[in-house]
Symmetry: C5
Subunit: 240 residues, 5 copies
């Protein structure tokens, strides 16, 4: 793709420092009025982590929960205390701790569901920061192009300068479109996808721990958990 | 339509490899940041199947469910075990297996409703991938046109080259608009339609199996199922 | 309005067959990928009927329901069997049949509410087809204009041909805007309005039949039904 | 603002009858396909009233309701019959009549809540008519500009006529933008604001009459009603 | 950024009083038709306060609520009367007063939840005023540019004046874009963020006071409150 662009001329003509300052500076300024500095900084961090993060397959999680169900059925709910050390996910650990502490299934579900709801809110805040930047940057690009056009139109003494002046005026629109469409929107989309995946994982954990606490039949519990995922991902632990 | 275009000149002038690379490469890149590679690949597969798929008429499904109701009424719910072999739809098979296994009507409904809800989520994910591509491709088309314009404006020594250069710059906008409007949006719409049809089918299956399990009067069950479909599709099995 | 256009020149300059083919052919193609042929055909039929259809005033419907309430109060619910012959609306007939058949008020409400919900879904599908066409046609208009511009820019040997070539290129945008804004959007709006009117009518029928079945006081039933309509349309049957 | 425009030339150049006919005629035509004539006419009437209407402060309404509560507590619920004559609002009169007629608090709330819901629907219909006009008028403005451009481009014999022809072509876009942004959108916004205010008023009336009917402690009733309004508007009737 | 703009010419060319009057006057006019003068004035005040306001960390609020819980557990609910003097937040004071007055937990929650709902409505009204201005100002900018273009095109006698006239015509678009994107949208976003923060704070207060009134175990109460906030903000008061 970059080679395709190079066919038309050197990349250098796409770099203009004042234009970059107008678009990036303007967008950053707007974003920092809109969101606290800490939130913007956090969002950048989360974005970096997100792009490098590898999800655990849901099938493995279901197998793990089925293991806990069988353990709890044979050795009692307190046996989960020992199993907690192997669990990496903090949310699942908390759910197991609540189960071991003897909470009612309904209390466990309510409290964890509230937590999931607010996790979702915080996640969508991160994604929304990128959506906002994707909204401000083309607007600042247009503002920059208008600035360039007004300056050009006021000084039309030398007709041969019109072309390059117009080219530079268009660069801010170009920067705005690239920032929005090549960086911010795909990252915001990625963050939303990841959030959905995490919410699904946490919903399965709540559903599973509630089944275990209620002493439900493991086959029915597995059927319930399988209802959340695509048929081709469903591997019964009973057919193994 | 293609003949109409040919009237204005040869099709060859609409093909420019660097422009195609900018739009398609850029759109693909954005899409792969936004969605995992596997999901994009799956979406293409699902789209291919969807366009070739033929739906079963809902009237036939209702007739089939009425047959099961009569069988269950006469020979008991376990008689559905034998009928399951003739059923192609995996979802209906699962519902019947749950009925034969002696699940409560409410449990059956809850579990299957969860499954339908998550099927809907997965379907809309597929459609959303095409909607996202339809959003990225015109944006990349505009980016490509801006690149072409900047290159053209920087090199205006030869006035006679302005026309063709502008034509090539506009080609990326053209590609972006065609990818979005001729391919992605109609396919996304089709996928949403198909999904709605499938959800309706599965809702009828849940409603029907619950009626059968509750031992409801077949006439009332038929009235209930008919409420989901258009009056002109309603063919009572009792008038035959 | 057409005279206003004629002031600027003959209407003939607004007709260009290749342009029409590009916009109409492209829009039709997209629509037929998006929706099954049958649905598009149905939508056109429904649109025709809708534009010619005359609504029954809700006040008349309430008076009719009050008549049934008084009849049922005096002669028993089975007396509605005779009154059914005068009822033209199939939905009301069905509701009365269910009442005469001795259904519970709650069952009657649930079944009819499901029916209304799915009627609404089918109606909105029809309106959505027009909304989709209104989305595709300006896009195809823009695609056509881009085709025309590219062809024009590639052949700029004769400067005097630029004006007419540009005029023809703009015609596709014009066709797209007219199809969307003069035909599809107002019709889609009309269909939505009609659907809302029909849903209100059916909601009144459900509410009324449930009151009759529950043997509610006719004055209270009338107050309930009046709550759905504007004060100035409320004509009590008791003040007559 | 008009003086600012006059600096650039006489206002007369902004008036072109054929352009006005295209935009206004086209917009009116679309609107009348979309909505019945009666509804459009009503919307204009409502808009006129709305712009001249003066709201009653909610604090006064709460004081009035507290007065009724004290009266009902001392002299019995039937004492409200006499107080009804001083009430101007028809909705509050109806609520009081229902209370005096001995309706259950729950029935009173359900019936009045249905009424408020449908009032809201009718109000939003009025606002939506203006929103629709605000959508059609810029579209018709663009259609008019396209007509003007096509006519101009077809007759480019005299270069000196291009400027004024282009100016007239742009007038329709100007008219469309002014109709939408200077008239329709602010009026639609005003109607929505007024509707929200009226819904809040009616919600307070329902809440208040239900408290009175349930014989709730007036202090608690006042606290409940104050929860609906801003702290600085809360004036307790007990501190006076 | 301003230095970047200065590279292209003096700032003076971006100031044109008639253009400013058209955009600002028009936008103000539209806004005052849309919203009552008092609401617009209030919104400006709220915006000023918001930008200078410093939020209390939620962790501190939870610690404060835990302190009240322990006090109420040891010395009885009436002991909160004394603690109320140290509370600055009026909403928390009201909640505590209601607890001391002996309200049922459910009544307390209902009344305060209504209050939070209406606070949210009033907040979003303030943000919406800025969103509306951000919608009107680019529209008025476009109207101003159309006015400038029409005036310019009608007077094309002197070709050398076209550049500056066009520059001035574009200034209104520039003003509209700056008002919307640099001022109104970021401020509206900030107001929405602040509102969300305040709603979260008030939700924690309701949740906490209800736990205290119900005499819930402080450890469980803390777990409940922590579910609302990010894991890294959770500092147990029991580990200190």
């Amino acid at each position: 793709m970059i080679m395709a662009i190079l066919q038309g001329g050197p990349l250098g003509i796409f770099i203009d420092v004042p234009s970059l300052l107008i678009v990036c500076g303007g967008t950053l300024g707007n974003t920092l009025v809109h969101y606290p500095f800490k939130d913007v900084f956090d969002a950048l961090n989360v974005a970096k982590k997100t792009l490098l993060y590898k999800e655990t397959p849901v099938a493995d999680l279901i197998a793990q929960l089925m293991g806990f169900a069988n353990k709890a059925r044979k050795e009692g709910i307190l046996a989960l205390q020992g199993a907690m050390n192997d669990v990496e996910d903090e949310f699942l650990q908390k759910a197991m701790q609540m189960a071991v502490d003897g909470q009612e299934p309904a209390t466990l579900r309510n409290m964890l569901a509230t937590e999931v709801e607010y996790i979702e809110m915080r996640h969508s805040k991160g994604a929304n920061i990128f959506v906002s930047i994707a909204g401000y940057s083309p607007a600042m690009g247009m503002v920059g192009t208008l600035i360039g056009l007004v300056q050009m139109l006021q000084n039309m003494a030398d007709p041969s300068s019109i072309g390059p002046a117009m080219a530079i005026a268009l660069l801010t629109t170009f920067y705005g479109a690239v920032i929005a469409n090549v960086f911010c929107l795909p990252i915001a989309g990625k963050l939303k996808n990841r959030s959905e995946g995490e919410i699904l994982t946490k919903t399965l954990m709540i559903e599973g721990m509630q089944s275990i606490l209620s002493g439900e039949n493991p086959r029915i519990m597995e059927q319930k958990l399988h209802a959340f995922i695509a048929p081709k991902l469903r591997e019964s632990t009973f057919n193994k």
